[in-house]
C-alpha cells in the first residue's frame, strides 16, 4: 500500500484499491485460522451472508450454516457434555454450611482457633448422609440431597484474591485483572452452537463482564436476558415482536440490508465487527419465532412448573432447561445473595432455600428427559467464607470472605455422580488435599466438553490465548 499524499480526495485510490474477493477470503481465512478450527474451504457468500440475498428468503442452506462462526463444531475429542448450565452463586457461599461439614467447629464454637483471627463459628445447620453415596448434605439443601448421587462435590476449591469483583471476574473469565473472554464465550467459540436461530450463549442476569467476548469475535458474547416470570415477553426480550411489519417483509428488508452491507464491506474492507453485526441481525430475526417459544414457560406442564417452584429463580432454571433443549450451548443463571457477613443462620438458609428446589428440579428434569448426560450443570460462587465470625456481624453472626477454601458442585455432562473430591483442613478454612484452583475447574469443564484446554487457543496480538492462561489441571477423578 502506497500513501498518496498529493490527493486531497482519494476516490481514485478507493477505486483502484477496493478489496477484491481474494482479499476478503484471505481475511476470512485468517479469521478462521485464528480460531484454530481449520474448517476447510470457504465460501465468500457465507461470509457476507449473500445466501440470504440470493435465496430470496429461502431457508439458509446447510452448507452455509457450516461456515458460520456459530455453526456446531467437533471438539478435540469426544466429550460427554454438549451444553453447560452455570448456576453462579455470586457472593461467596460458605463451605462449612453447605457442602463441607466440619463438626469439630462445634467444639470450638465462640473460641479462638490458632491461626485464625476471631471466634470460631460453628455451622448452625445439621448435615445428614444422603443417597447411596452417603455424602453428608446440609439441612439447607433437602431437595438437592435427593440428587446427591448425580452430583460431584468439590471441597477443595481455592482462588487468588477474596474480593468480590476480582474473584467473580476470575471465576467467569479466568482472569483477575484484564478483560478476557468469559467461560461461556470460550465454550461457544470452541463448539459453536446447535441452534442457529438462538444465541449460543445466554445469560439470565449477572455482570456484563461475565459474558464478555473480549478479544474473541463479538458473536461469542453472551446475550443477556432480564427474565422474570410472568413478565410479558416483550419486556423479557425487548422489541422481540414487530408490531408493524410482517416477517416475510422483514426478511426482505434484511436481505436488502445484507446486500448493502456487502457493498459497504467491499468499500472499507473486511472487519470482524461488521461480520458479527450481520450475524447478530440473522440471529435476531430468527429469535423472533424461536426465543418466543423458549421463554414461554406457560407451555410447560403444571407438574414441571410446580417442581421448579414459583420463584423467579425456579422459572429461570426452567428457562435454562428449555434453552439447552433448543440447542443453546451455554446458559448462565445468576443465583446470588451468598455474601453472608451477618445473620448467616437465617440468611443463608433463605438463599440456599431459594436454589434448592429449583436446582433439584432441574437435575431431575434433565435426567428424566435424558439430557443430563449431555448437560453439565455447575454450581458455585467466587470464593468461600471464614470459619470464624465476621467482625462486623455483631448481633447476628456471619462469615467473612475466604479464598483459600470453598466448594462447588457439578452434575451431568460426564461427571461422576455421588463423589466428593478434595478436602479442606480440619476446620474447613483452606483447601489442602487435591486442591482445585479456578483454572483447574475451567480445565475440567473444557475437558468434559471434549477440549484439551491447553489447545483451545485464540491468537490475538501476537500470542495464543486460552481460558486457563498458563495453568490448569483437569480433575480427572470426577470425570466418569
Amino acid at each position: 500500500m502506497r500513501p498518496d499524499p498529493c490527493s486531497s480526495c482519494s476516490e481514485k485510490y478507493l477505486r483502484e484499491h477496493t478489496a477484491g474477493a481474494d482479499d476478503l477470503i484471505f481475511t476470512r481465512r485468517q479469521f478462521l485460522e485464528r480460531t484454530g478450527m481449520g474448517m476447510g474451504a470457504l465460501s465468500l457468500a457465507s461470509i457476507l451472508g449473500l445466501n440470504v440475498v440470493d435465496a430470496q428468503g429461502a431457508p439458509v442452506s446447510a452448507a452455509t450454516k457450516a461456515m458460520s462462526p456459530l455453526a456446531p463444531r467437533q471438539p478435540h475429542f469426544a466429550g460427554k457434555a454438549k451444553a453447560v448450565i452455570h448456576i453462579f452463586a455470586e457472593g461467596g457461599p460458605s463451605q462449612v454450611d453447605t457442602w463441607d461439614p466440619k463438626p469439630i467447629l462445634d467444639k470450638y464454637a465462640n473460641k479462638t482457633i490458632p491461626g485464625h483471627d476471631g471466634l470460631a463459628y460453628a455451622s448452625p445447620f445439621k448435615f445428614t448422609k444422603s443417597g447411596k453415596s452417603g455424602i453428608e448434605v446440609s439441612e439447607v439443601f433437602p431437595k438437592l440431597g435427593e440428587c446427591i448421587d448425580d452430583m460431584a462435590i468439590i471441597r477443595s476449591m481455592w482462588t487468588d484474591i477474596p474480593a468480590h469483583d476480582v474473584a467473580q471476574r476470575f471465576m467467569n473469565t479466568g482472569s483477575l485483572q484484564l478483560p478476557k473472554p468469559s467461560l461461556g464465550s470460550w465454550v461457544v467459540y470452541g463448539l459453536g452452537t446447535e441452534n442457529q436461530n438462538m444465541p449460543g450463549f445466554v445469560t439470565l442476569g449477572g455482570d456484563p463482564e461475565w459474558r464478555q467476548a473480549s478479544f474473541l469475535p463479538g458473536v461469542f458474547q453472551g446475550c443477556n436476558v432480564n427474565y422474570r416470570q410472568n413478565m410479558p415477553l416483550e419486556e423479557v426480550l425487548l422489541n422481540i415482536r414487530n408490531q408493524f411489519t410482517p416477517l416475510d417483509r422483514q426478511r426482505r428488508q434484511l436481505d436488502l440490508a445484507a446486500k448493502l452491507n456487502q457493498m459497504h464491506q467491499k468499500a472499507i474492507q473486511q472487519d470482524a465487527q461488521l461480520e458479527a453485526r450481520i450475524e447478530a441481525f440473522e440471529i435476531a430475526f430468527k429469535m423472533q419465532t424461536e426465543a418466543t417459544d423458549a421463554f414461554d414457560i406457560t407451555k410447560e406442564p403444571a407438574e414441571a412448573r410446580t417442581a421448579y417452584g414459583t420463584s423467579d429463580l425456579g422459572a429461570k432454571l426452567l428457562v435454562a432447561r428449555r434453552l439447552v433443549e433448543r440447542g443453546v450451548r451455554f446458559v448462565q443463571v445468576q443465583a446470588g445473595g451468598w455474601d453472608h457477613h451477618a445473620g448467616l443462620d437465617q440468611n443463608l438458609r433463605r438463599t440456599a432455600g431459594a436454589i434448592d428446589s429449583p436446582a433439584a428440579a432441574l437435575l431431575k428434569d434433565l435426567k428424566q428427559r435424558g439430557l443430563l448426560d449431555s448437560t453439565l450443570v455447575l454450581w458455585g460462587g467466587e470464593f468461600g467464607r471464614t470459619i470464624v465470625k465476621d467482625r462486623n456481624g455483631n448481633d447476628t453472626p456471619g462469615r467473612d470472605h475466604n479464598g483459600r477454601g470453598f466448594c462447588a458442585w457439578m452434575a451431568g455432562g460426564g461427571v461422576k455422580g455421588g463423589t466428593t473430591y478434595g478436602s479442606t483442613d480440619e476446620f474447613g478454612a483452606r483447601a489442602v488435599e487435591n486442591k482445585v484452583h479456578i483454572h483447574d475447574l475451567h480445565a475440567t469443564i473444557m475437558s468434559l466438553l471434549g477440549f484439551d484446554h491447553t489447545k483451545l487457543t485464540y491468537r490475538y496480538n501476537g500470542r495464543d490465548f486460552r481460558l486457563t492462561d498458563n495453568y490448569g489441571n483437569v480433575v480427572k477423578d470426577i470425570i466418569a
Binding site: Y13, I161, N224, L238, L274, R277
Partner: protein, 981 residues
C-alpha cells in the same frame, strides 16, 4: 493434609522460637547460610527494599517473615514440612514453586534453609526503625506516568512531506521503524462524517457535505473543525464523555422501591448542564477541575458554578458514610488522575505507590465535606403562573407529609403507652441477655404482650442515665445504683427528671427491674387523652411557639420527638424520619417521592445545585486497619498523594482541604492530570487511547503506544491554557486523524489492533450517537440545549427525559434520565457506561438485542416513516431522486448507480408483494394499536419516586409501512448507518 497437632505445634513453636534470642551459633548460621540466599534469590520479589511484596510476602525483615503472605504463614518454625516457604523452594507443589521457573535454589541452599527452619528459624535481624511505605520506593516512582511531563523533540522522519502536524511525525516515526506506511487519506465524505460525529455526536447535513466537497481550498477542513468546535452540540457530545468518567446518574442507587423516598436526585441535571456549558465555553481544564472539587471555595465565583459540585455528590448514596467517601475518592482519583487509589482502602496498593495513609489523607478531606441542608438556588422560572402552580402543588404534598408525621407519632407513642413496663422489661432482658434464660423470658414477654420489637429498640435507645424519663431506671439497671439513692435524687431541686415521672416514683420502694418498670406504667397513665391535645398543639403551632405543657409533652412524644409544624420543613422531616425504624417509615409512607417527582417534572420548579460545603470542624481521618471502621490506626493529616508530591506532602489547612486538593490536581506539575485527559481525548478520536485503560495509568497499565506523543500533547495542552478545543484541533488537523480505515493484509497480521495507527479504526456509533442520529434522520431532533420536562425553555437548564420508552423524547440522549439502579435494557445492550463508578471507556459489543431495537422498536419504525414524510423526500416522485434524498439523510452521501438500482428493484418487488398484504397483518396491527393504547392509559399516573420518568406525548401509531418506509427502515439496519469509518 497436616494433622491438627502438627499444625498447632508449628504455630506455637514459631512464636516461641521468635521470642527467644538466637544463640551465637544460630546467628552465625543465619548470617552465613540463610541471609545470603534470601538476599540473592528472594528479595527481588519479596522485600521492602525493592518495594515488592509479591503474594503479600516480604522476607527482608523478621516481621515480614513472621507475618507471612497472602497464602498463609511462610514458615512454621521447627517444621520444615509444614512450612510453605520450604515447600515452595522444594518445588513439591505444582502451584507453589519459588523462586519461579528456572531459578530453583541449589540442593545445598534448600538443605540450609530446611535445616534453619528445623532449628526454629532463629532470626537475629533487628527491626527497621521506620519501615518504608510499601511500594513507595524509587522503583515504583520510576513508572513513566509519574515522571514530569516534558516536551519531547519532534522526531525526524524520512517522509517529511507526509507530515502536517507534529502529531504526524510522532506516529510516522514508529511506523517507519517497522517499515510501515500509513493508509491513504479518507474520502472527504468519510472525513466529514468522522469529524462531525467525533465533535458533535451527530451526522453532518447533506448541505454540509456538499459545501465541503465543493471547497477545494487547503483550509477546507480547518474551517470544518472550527465550525464544529463552535457548535453548541459540541458540549453535548463531550460532556457525555465526561459524565461517564464522573459516574453521572439521576438516582442514588441502592434499594429501589417506591418507599425509597429519595431515590431520585431532583437536581443532578444541573450538574450535567453545567458540564455541557463548560465544554461549550472551552473552560480551561484546570478551572474545570477546581470548580468541580471546590466551587464553593473559589473567590469571586458565580452562583451558577455551584452546580459543578455535583461531581462530588451524584455518586451512589451508600448507607455507610465511609462507602460514600470511598466513592468520592474513587471518582476523583480515577477521574482526574487515572489512579485506583480506592484499592488502598484496606491495604497499601498492591501495585502502585499508594500507601493506605494516602487513602486516609483523602478520606479526611471528604469526611470534612458535608452536603448543606439547603442547596444553593440556581434559578427560578420567570413565568409567574408556572411558579405559582408549582408552589401550590408542593405545598399540598408537604402538608400531606406533615399530617402523616403527626399521625404516625401519635400511633407509635400510644402503642408504647399501652404497656410501658412490658417494653422496658423485655427490652432490657433482651439487650442485656446474659443468660439464655433472660433471652427466653424476653421472647416470651414479646410474644405474650405482642410487643413491637422495632419500637422496643427505640425505647431502649433512651435508656440513658441522663434521660429525663428513663434516667432513674437506667441508673438502677445499668449503673447498679441503690434505689434509695436514685429516689432521693428525684427530690433534689436540680433533678432533671420529668416531674410526672418523679411523681410516679414518689413514695414507692422499687427493688427490682419489674418494680421499677411498673412505676412507668403509672407515669405514662397520666397522659391519657391529653396526648391528642399535645399533638394538635404541635401540629398547628405558629412560628415555633408551641403553647403546651412541656412536662406532659415529654411523655407524649416518648420515645420520639415532636416537632412544631412551623419547624417541620421537608428536609427536617426527612432527617427525623430517616432515623425511625423501617416499619415506622413504611407506615408513614411519606410522599417524598412525589416531591422529587414534582421537582423533576414541573416546569415551574426551581433549580438548585447539588453542592457541598466544608464541615464546621474539619478533621483528619485515622487509618482503618484492613479497611475496618472499628479498628483504627494512626491519624493521617489531610494532604495530597505522596507519590505526586514534592518531597513530603504538606498538610492541607484551609477547611476540608478540597481547594488545596483541587489545586494539587489542576497543576502543571502534576504528571498525571494532563496525560489522563489527553489519553481520553485521543481515545474518543481514535477508538482507543495511547493507554487503553483510561482510568488507570498506574503501574499495572500497559505502556503507552506513543509515549512521546502523549507527552507532547500533554505539554501542548497545558501550554495552551488547558484548552480542550485547541487540543482537538491539533489532533484533527493531523494526517493521522485523516487516514482512511482501509486495511492492509500484512499489517493486519503484524499489528491487528492498529496500535501504531497505520489506519483509522472503524467505530460503531455509541448509544447516544445512534439514537440522536435516528432523530436527525426523522427531522425530530430537538436541538434546544436547555428545556424543561414539559417543554418550556428554561434558562436554568433541563430536567431529564425518558430516552427509551414511548412516548420517547426528541431531546438529545445526553439529557436522558439515568437510573444507576436500573439502567434501561436498551442502554445497556448498547454498552452505555455503567454509572456505578468511573468508566471512561465503553465496550463495543454486538448482540442481537441491538438488532431487535433497530428492526422492531416503535422508534425505529417511526423514524423510517418520518424520513419518507420529510418535505425533501415527500415532494419528489421520481424513484432515483427519492433514493438520493434518502441516502443523503441516512448516509450523508450520494448513492452509487448500483445502489440506486438495488433500491429500485427492492421498491418494485415490495410494491408487488404489498398489494397482496394478508388480512392477518391488519388484525395484528389493530391488536397492537389497542395494546399500545392500553399501555399508555396504564402508564399515566403511575409515576413515583422509583420509576423511570415518563414523557408526555403520543405513542407511535401501530400501522404497517409503505414500500418506501420499508425501504428507509432497511437502510437504517445496514452496517454503514451504524459505523464511522
Amino acid at each position: 493434609m497436616l494433622s491438627r497437632s502438627l499444625f498447632l505445634t508449628g504455630v506455637f513453636m514459631a512464636s516461641a522460637a521468635f521470642a527467644a534470642d538466637p544463640t551465637p551459633e544460630q546467628i552465625q548460621f543465619f548470617e552465613s547460610k540463610v541471609r545470603p540466599v534470601l538476599s540473592a534469590k528472594c528479595y527481588k520479589c519479596h522485600s521492602l527494599e525493592e518495594g515488592k511484596a509479591k503474594g503479600g510476602l516480604t522476607l527482608d525483615s523478621k516481621a515480614g517473615l513472621l507475618k507471612g503472605g497472602d497464602t498463609g504463614d511462610a514458615l512454621k518454625a521447627g517444621d520444615p514440612d509444614g512450612s510453605l516457604m520450604i515447600q515452595a523452594i522444594g518445588y513439591k507443589d505444582k502451584d507453589l514453586q519459588m523462586p519461579p521457573k528456572g531459578e530453583k535454589l541449589t540442593n545445598s541452599e534448600i538443605a540450609d534453609l530446611t535445616a534453619w527452619v528445623k532449628m526454629g528459624a532463629p532470626d537475629p535481624r533487628k527491626e527497621v526503625a521506620a519501615t518504608k511505605l510499601t511500594g513507595l520506593t524509587d522503583k515504583a516512582r520510576e513508572h513513566w506516568a509519574f515522571q514530569p511531563v516534558k516536551k519531547p523533540a519532534i522526531p525526524l522522519v524520512k517522509n517529511r512531506a507526509w507530515c502536517v502536524t507534529p502529531v504526524d511525525a510522532f506516529v510516522l516515526q514508529q511506523l517507519e521503524a517497522k517499515g510501515m506506511v500509513p493508509s491513504p487519506p479518507a474520502t472527504k465524505e468519510a472525513l466529514l462524517r468522522r469529524a462531525t460525529y467525533d465533535l458533535l455526536g451527530l451526522p453532518p447535513t447533506p448541505q454540509e457535505i456538499y459545501a465541503f466537497l465543493a471547497d477545494d481550498s487547503p483550509q477546507a477542513f480547518v474551517k470544518v473543525v472550527d465550525r464544529l468546535l463552535a457548535s453548541p452540540h459540541y458540549g453535548e457530545r463531550w460532556a457525555r464523555y465526561w459524565l461517564d468518567s464522573a459516574r453521572y446518574s439521576d438516582t442514588t442507587g441502592g434499594e429501589r422501591n417506591a418507599a425509597r423516598a429519595d431515590y431520585r436526585f431532583p437536581y443532578a441535571w444541573t450538574y450535567r448542564d453545567w458540564v455541557i456549558k463548560s465544554f461549550n465555553d472551552d473552560m480551561p481544564y484546570d478551572q474545570f477541575i477546581l470548580q468541580q472539587l471546590a466551587a464553593d471555595k473559589l473567590p469571586k465565583n458565580t452562583t451558577a458554578n455551584a452546580a459543578a459540585l455535583g461531581f462530588i455528590t451524584v455518586g451512589e448514596q451508600f448507607e455507610n458514610a465511609n462507602d460514600v467517601i470511598n466513592d468520592r475518592i474513587d471518582v476523583v482519583t480515577k477521574g482526574f488522575l487515572g489512579l485506583t487509589v480506592s484499592c488502598a482502602r484496606c491495604h497499601d496498593h498492591m501495585f502502585d505507590p499508594i500507601p493506605t495513609e494516602d487513602y486516609y489523607a483523602l478520606h479526611g478531606i471528604f469526611a470534612s465535606t458535608i452536603e448543606p441542608g439547603e442547596q444553593p438556588l440556581l434559578g427560578v422560572t420567570s413565568d409567574v403562573k408556572l411558579a405559582e402552580d408549582f408552589k401550590q402543588k408542593l405545598a399540598a404534598i408537604e402538608q400531606e407529609n406533615r399530617t402523616k408525621y403527626y399521625d404516625v407519632i401519635s400511633e407509635q407513642t400510644a402503642l408504647f403507652r399501652e404497656k410501658p413496663s412490658a417494653y422496658l422489661v423485655a427490652g432490657h432482658k433482651r439487650a442485656q441477655a446474659s443468660s439464655e434464660k433472660d433471652q427466653l423470658e424476653a421472647d416470651q414477654i414479646i410474644r405474650d404482650q405482642k410487643l413491637d420489637v422495632q419500637l422496643m429498640r427505640e425505647v431502649l435507645r433512651e435508656l440513658r442515665k441522663d434521660d429525663p424519663i428513663l434516667g432513674p431506671l437506667a441508673r438502677f439497671i445499668n449503673g447498679g445504683e441503690k434505689p434509695a439513692v436514685i429516689l432521693a435524687d428525684l427530690e433534689k431541686p436540680e433533678s432533671k427528671v420529668n416531674p410526672l415521672v418523679a411523681g410516679a416514683f414518689k413514695g414507692a420502694t422499687p427493688k427490682t427491674l419489674e418494680e421499677f418498670a411498673k412505676l412507668y406504667d403509672k407515669a405514662f397513665a397520666s397522659v391519657g387523652s391529653k396526648a391528642k391535645d399535645v399533638v394538635q398543639a404541635y401540629a398547628t403551632a405558629q412560628s415555633g411557639a408551641v403553647t403546651v405543657d412541656a412536662t406532659m409533652a415529654q411523655l407524649v412524644e416518648f420515645p420520639f420527638e415532636l416537632v412544631a409544624v412551623s419547624e417541620l420543613s421537608t428536609n427536617r422531616l426527612r432527617q427525623i424520619s430517616g432515623n425511625w425504624p423501617q416499619q415506622m417509615q413504611n407506615k408513614a409512607n411519606f410522599s417524598f417521592a412525589k416531591i422529587n417527582e414534582l421537582l423533576l417534572t414541573h416546569d415551574g420548579a426551581p433549580s438548585k445545585a447539588m453542592a457541598v460545603a466544608d464541615a464546621m470542624k474539619p478533621r483528619d481521618s485515622q487509618v482503618f486497619i484492613r479497611g475496618q471502621a472499628d479498628v483504627r490506626g494512626d491519624s493521617v493529616p489531610r494532604r495530597f498523594l505522596e507519590v505526586l508530591s514534592d518531597g513530603r506532602p504538606r498538610a492541607f489547612k484551609q477547611g476540608s482541604g478540597r481547594l488545596e486538593l483541587a489545586q494539587a490536581i489542576a497543576s502543571k506539575k502534576n504528571p498525571l492530570t494532563a496525560r489522563v485527559l489527553v489519553n481520553r481525548v485521543w481515545m474518543h478520536h481514535f477508538g482507543q487511547g495511547f493507554v487503553r485503560t483510561p482510568d488507570d495509568i498506574g503501574t499495572q497499565s500497559e505502556a503507552p503506544s506513543h509515549p512521546e506523543l502523549i507527552d507532547y500533547l500533554s505539554h501542548y495542552f497545558m501550554e495552551q491554557g488547558w484548552s480542550q478545543k485547541k487540543l482537538h484541533k491539533l489532533i484533527m488537523l493531523s494526517k493521522v486523524y485523516q487516514n482512511s480505515s482501509y486495511k492492509n493484509a500484512a499489517y493486519e497480521v503484524s499489528d491487528p489492533e492498529n496500535r501504531l495507527l497505520w489506519r483509522a479504526n472503524i467505530r460503531r456509533l455509541d448509544f447516544e450517537s445512534l439514537r440522536d442520529s435516528l432523530l436527525v434522520y426523522s427531522g425530530q431532533l430537538d436541538r434546544a440545549l436547555v428545556r424543561n420536562a414539559n417543554g418550556t425553555i428554561s434558562p436554568a437548564g433541563g430536567q431529564p427525559v425518558n430516552l427509551t420508552d414511548e412516548p420517547y423524547s426528541y431531546r438529545r440522549s445526553v439529557y436522558g434520565y439515568i437510573d444507576r439502579g436500573n439502567l434501561p435494557e436498551l442502554m445497556s445492550s448498547f454498552d452505555f457506561s455503567n454509572p456505578e463508578m468511573t468508566n471512561s471507556a465503553r465496550t463495543t459489543t454486538i448482540v442481537p438485542q441491538q438488532a431487535l431495537f433497530l428492526m422492531n422498536s416503535p422508534m425505529a419504525v417511526d423514524v423510517a416513516r418520518r424520513i419518507i414524510a420529510r418535505p425533501e423526500v415527500a415532494s419528489v416522485r421520481e424513484d432515483h431522486t427519492r433514493i438520493l434524498r434518502i441516502y443523503e439523510i441516512i448516509f450523508q452521501r450520494q448513492p452509487s448507480p448500483t445502489e440506486i438500482k438495488v433500491g429500485v428493484e427492492f421498491l418494485t418487488a415490495e410494491n408487488r408483494a404489498q398489494t397482496a398484504l394478508v388480512a392477518s397483518m391488519k388484525d395484528n396491527v389493530e391488536k397492537a394499536q389497542k395494546d399500545v393504547e392500553k399501555k399508555q392509559s396504564e402508564m399515566m399516573g403511575r409515576n413515583d419516586g422509583a420509576k423511570a420518568i415518563q414523557n408526555e406525548g403520543k405513542l407511535v401509531e401501530r400501522r404497517s409501512l409503505t414500500p418506501y418506509e420499508t425501504y428507509a427502515h432497511a437502510l437504517i439496519l445496514s452496517n454503514e448507518a451504524s459505523y464511522i469509518n
